[in-house]
Symmetry: none
Subunit: 403 residues, 2 copies
């Protein structure tokens, strides 16, 4: 198959009034329940999704490549049409967008741990006894707001021992080593610049860690900070640039809002439930031509090993499908960023069911939205990045390629 | 899947007396008729194609990639085995081969418009009121045959306001900007060289346009020429070089003869009908080992939105299939360069049905040549470039790869 780069898409994409809704059920793909032989999706009663599947086309997406289990970032990037091997998102940046931090191009983010060091300066606990969220917030406030060599330092709590350190200033390059030794019994590492351009950042980060050690000295067990995954906003062209879309994201969880922001989507304010999200979709339907709606519950059910909970979330989504179809969008895509089978209790490499509904679908003979039916179509092995191209084609937002 | 480059094919291809016939129904793929739910191919009575499908293998080709609607050039290049993203054909060259102009390597072609400018030199009509074919011929004769800086200029009519300007001489590189501003109210643009190597061409083209303005001054509304899409013969290895074939093209329409010529096929003189084309095939059967037979009517029916006309062309082809099989070729491929559903009235991105018949096919269970049956096989998602490799393999024209 020819490789379709974003440059090619950018060349043939054209703005149009047609509308695309991409409904992502996180971790949608499943594995059979040992008692029934049916997956979560196959167990759920989904008359509305089945009706969409019957009129549209179905298949399985390969989020990255066969056998590769994607993290949340690659799983979503590929659904947004970006090759997740070409466009990678650093650990620090992912943590930062995951707490709704407004990451600007040029900022450098690092993932941090509060940790414990002994009198000789050796790390004895990389997680400082998993301190409480409250303590994390308190200690972040203590360290936050410093300026070193003209670089402003933001320190933000994540959860337990986890924090984000964000550095904002001129001339920061992120190719530096970690201070986190990833093991105990040794001192934290000095951060080293891997290029001359990164020397400023290394100096600032080492100075910050030196100060942090002093400021935390009396806060045992959280008497040190370890940093890793220094990274910058990925150099990703926005969806408006590539696809000529006006895209909006509707997601209850900050991580997914952040991922959407990284590709240039407007993030819409929404509530905690799926109903809230659909309400937000309806309220903003006139203002955008692409909507990414993110459902977290399917993944949570899978991660928790709670088969029944995942089934319930799918059924809940199905009940709301008529409100989506009533908007009469040109294209509806229902997909997942990866599989999270409840039996596995984690992300897996299994391809993920999708359906695409538009008036221009050449019908397959699928009448039920399920892993097994999706595996029987001609799109049973579709690169997830192609799904976005297919959605664009069905919305008639792509010109002919070549004369 | 490993990427099989033309270098690899060239290494393993071997000349042999076996024969391949590639029968291309342009725009073959369709969409269901709203009343019957059947595509054009599914509606047509095709007992002979069905018989070939039953003995051979079937599937769907992906001409470029999922969701990408191919123009005629990429659609055919991929059927000829050339990656249509790697090998692209410039607008000017395509126009030139489309009027049967004998394009030589080194020539530069541009697509031209007769257009109207006002007294201030601003474009007021990019198409000069769509002048008549006769007027176009007359004005092209006026401009044709000049020599500028040792570069010979050929000016040829296409249709209405459309013309081709071909420049032949030493040291011409085509990376120059267009003179066509693509809008009215502004003057034509000066052609600018994008590299030092292209400076000669830019100078010659600007001089030509200056002269054209003078020569056309009294021919309002066609008092100016706009040029765009400067391009050269693509640097494509011939089918003889890559596949070790002696290939011939049989096509009623000049565009497809031209595309075949670009990959080194001999173009055989033929008539206007499918019957003429099959006659030409029979007459020349002894002299070549690869035949590309192009049927235009399927695409025309689709473009016109004439479902029934497209069905009739398919049935007409089917009636002639026994004359093709009677030649007893080693491999028959029936395919399309893209889909042109009559309901859509234009090229689309949908994959295209194909069948491949040879004595070495591992049978599938298909007994009817149709989109839906082709979608049910293991080749329901075949890159179109792979079809040529499969044809070569079935004709036993490819050696083992690797020891």
């Amino acid at each position: 198959m020819s490789e379709i780069t974003l440059d090619i898409i950018q060349e043939i994409a054209q703005p149009s009034p047609s509308k695309i809704i991409l409904l992502v059920m996180d971790g949608l793909g499943g594995l059979p329940h040992p008692q029934t032989g049916k997956t979560e999706l196959e167990t759920a009663r989904t008359p509305n999704l089945d009706r969409l599947a019957a009129t549209g086309i179905c298949g399985l997406t390969e989020p990255v490549a066969p056998g590769i289990t994607p993290g949340s970032a690659p799983g979503h990037l590929s659904l947004f049409g970006y090759d997740p091997v070409k466009y990678t998102i650093g650990r620090g940046i992912l943590e930062a967008v995951g707490i709704d931090f407004d990451v600007r191009r040029g900022d450098v983010a690092a993932r941090g741990n509060f940790s414990t060091i002994d009198e000789a300066g050796r790390v004895t606990d990389r997680r400082a006894g998993r301190l409480s969220d409250e303590k994390c917030v308190e200690l972040c406030k203590l360290l936050d707001g410093q300026t070193i060599n003209g670089v402003k330092i933001f320190v933000r709590p994540v959860r337990e021992h986890r924090l984000v350190v964000m550095m904002r200033g001129e001339g920061l390059a992120p190719d530096v080593s970690d201070s986190d030794p990833q093991k105990t019994g040794v001192p934290p590492l000095t951060i080293i610049a891997h290029s001359p351009a990164a020397e400023k950042l290394a100096k600032v980060a080492n100075e910050f860690l030196g100060r942090a050690k002093e400021m935390l000295a009396k806060h045992h067990p959280a008497n040190m900070v370890l940093l890793r995954g220094f990274s910058q906003h990925p150099d990703i062209p926005t969806m408006s640039e590539v696809f000529k879309l006006k895209p909006a994201a509707i997601a209850s969880y900050p991580m997914y809002r952040g991922l959407a922001k990284l590709v240039g989507m407007d993030v819409l304010k929404t509530g905690k439930t799926i109903e809230d999200e659909i309400q937000t979709l309806k309220q903003n339907y006139g203002s955008y031509d692409f909507f990414f709606v993110h459902i977290k519950g399917t993944d949570t059910g899978g991660e928790d090993g709670n088969f029944e909970a995942k089934v319930k979330v799918i059924e809940n989504v199905d009940r709301l499908v008529p409100e989506v179809t009533a908007l009469n969008p040109d294209v509806i895509v229902v997909a997942g960023d990866h599989s999270t089978p409840a039996t596995f209790k984690g992300h897996t490499w299994h391809p993920v069911p999708f359906l695409l509904y538009s008036r221009w679908c050449r019908p397959d003979d699928i009448t039920k939205f399920s892993e097994s039916s999706c595996a029987s179509t001609s799109l049973s092995h579709l690169p997830a990045t192609s799904l976005m191209v297919l959605a664009m084609a069905n919305a008639q937002k792509l010109n002919k390629y070549g004369a």
